[in-house]
Symmetry: C2
Subunit: 335 residues, 2 copies
DNA sequence: CTGAAAGCGCTAACAC
DNA sequence: GTGTTAGCGCTTTCAG
């Protein structure tokens, strides 16, 4: 193994000089700098991560805490992850993957070990056991999602509430007076996932505001369930002409279900989805874009900032953006 | 921060003794052992990972190399991952996530840095740029998948060839004389993904062996494509009464497409899938089980073995297992 | 602008 | 069965 001492000898300088060339923490004459660089190249030197960690008490690794909960749509989750990892690399950080349901325990261990400098915590629930832990550990961390108490933590989130409202406004603007909301599977609400609740709350509030009748239902992800739910929605509220869908996995089946029940999209029922753009594009659905990549990127960007001591906003909320596609038609005629 | 010296002082022993209590690398009187353990507990001591790494040149971290290629079904991929991570933890290992498409480059860097002790490489292609690299880096590594040249590497794979064949045999045993194969999206074949090719090859060979007519087609993952592909398959080979599907994402749409084309399952067309059991269960499909968790677990188990110097088999091939469900009916009457 | 040297926290000989 | 001590490879004072 090539060590810093080898490089120093080869370049005819002190080890510290090599170190400084690498870190840039003090000025070096360009002459020695190039000599050192050349030696590094020739010898194929790579600083040892462990040694650097002991000496500097910095490891340049962040923990990515990724609970895999029932009902979360994995393709969407992976968008967050890949964006976060790519951004980490752009900041010279590596990513330790912490999945497994032992979230809190692993968090504690990894922090105590000094294996990571900070955490990026995904899928945070309203009352999340990890939140008090994070606060007490005193390592920089950024949450994707929003716990009930934010207090000193850095959070990034999509504005699901505004997203739900935006869908309603779009439908109301088109003249729809009676609309439905198809949400996540019911387990998701049962565990108090903030994003699901907030989208629904935004939907409900906007419907009230606009004086539009509304019904909301959870939806499971197989065809039979979607069909059953849509059927029951149309039965409970027969005047329904608009549907807001916040469930990527069910999205596939919604159009088919409506067709099976004799409703055409968008002529009989207009549909607006909350989902990543690619999916909406593929299914040709009017949608409010869920900016998964952007969330992952932003979150890691904020973590990198905190790791280098820069201050960050407590809450970054990404605004919704609606794109019109084939599933919502032109303005309804007044009936 | 609590160090090993603090613990030693508190317990009235030498630092090395504390270390030995922790590692178990030499015998300790149970009296001092309990005293040390108690001090560790009281002080809340956790050995510093970096320091341990420098001193022992072992980091207890493995790199999980996870290329996210177009056409791979993420829910299935995540099964591998979670099983691998859980198994890693069971061996006291942590997992560094290496995604991003800079596979080879990151591999090199992380190995040179001594950030990991070994690699678990997923989704290996027949001619994979990472394979020669892995061989030359000389760190233990385990591949999920199988490159063309195995030569000194440890590989784990599902026996896709046997799986394809098993599906054919099942259909042939039921009396089907003309069958079709719906495969992965065409990009997957274009990049020489071994698993896709082998499943198809196994299917084709078995069909020949059994004297059964067969056609194979790639399938994209949206409803329109599935419908179009099934239609074209039934047109090319109108006598088709059996279908083997190796595409988790398309699976959703197959039954619907057949129905749309006026064929009932299993009366007109029998369907056998190659997919995880849970999915087959949900869709009530006869299937050959893709043991994703088991692959992830086995792979990490092998890596752990290699890291502790134990030898491993060069190739572990998990055998297929077929489960009958509603999508293949009873034996056909001789026509 | 550069060098010498004292650690960082831990492991693993080498003692006894 | 336990203690002493010399590193592991790097960073960062301190000194010039």
């Amino acid at each position: 193994m090539v060590t810093i001492a080898d490089v120093a000898r080869h370049a005819g300088v002190a080890p510290s000089t090599v170190s400084y060339v690498l870190t840039g923490r003090r000025s070096i004459s360009s002459r020695t700098r190039t000599r050192v660089r050349e030696s590094i190249r020739q010898l194929g030197y790579h600083p040892n991560a462990g040694a650097r960690a002991v000496a500097s008490s910095r490891v340049d690794v962040v923990g990515l805490v990724l609970p895999l909960r029932p009902g979360v749509h994995l393709p969407v989750l992976m968008r967050f992850v890949t964006a976060a990892v790519a951004t980490a690399r752009a900041h010279g950080l590596d990513v330790l993957l912490m999945t497994a349901d032992r979230g809190a325990q692993d968090l504690r261990r990894v922090a105590a070990d000094a294996q990571v400098d900070g955490f990026l915590v995904m899928d945070v629930e309203l009352h999340d056991e990890r939140v008090p832990l994070l606060r007490q550990m005193g390592r920089p961390s950024v949450l994707i999602g929003r716990p009930a108490v934010v207090n000193g933590l850095t959070c990034v989130d999509f504005d699901f509430e505004a997203a739900g409202a935006r869908c309603v406004d779009h439908l109301a603007d088109l003249g729809h007076r009676c609309i439905g909301f198809l949400g996540s599977p019911s387990v998701v609400y049962q565990r108090n996932a903030g994003y699901a609740q907030r989208a629904m709350a935004g939907f409900g509030a906007a419907a009230m505001r606009r004086g539009v009748a509304s019904t909301a239902l959870p939806v499971e992800c197989d065809y039979e369930s979607v069909l059953a739910t849509v059927r029951s929605l149309l039965r409970t509220q027969p005047a329904t002409t608009g549907l807001v869908v916040h469930n990527e996995a069910a999205l596939n089946w919604v159009a088919a279900s409506l067709r099976a029940l004799g409703r055409r999209v968008p002529d009989d029922v207009a549909v607006v989805a909350i989902c990543p753009d690619e999916l909406a594009e593929q299914l040709r659905l009017t949608s409010v874009r869920l900016p998964a990549e952007e969330l992952g990127r932003q979150a890691m960007e904020l973590l990198a900032a905190r790791l280098s001591g820069r201050p960050t906003a407590a809450l970054t909320l990404l605004p919704p953006k609606l794109s019109c596609r084939a599933s919502t038609g032109p303005r309804l005629r007044r009936v």
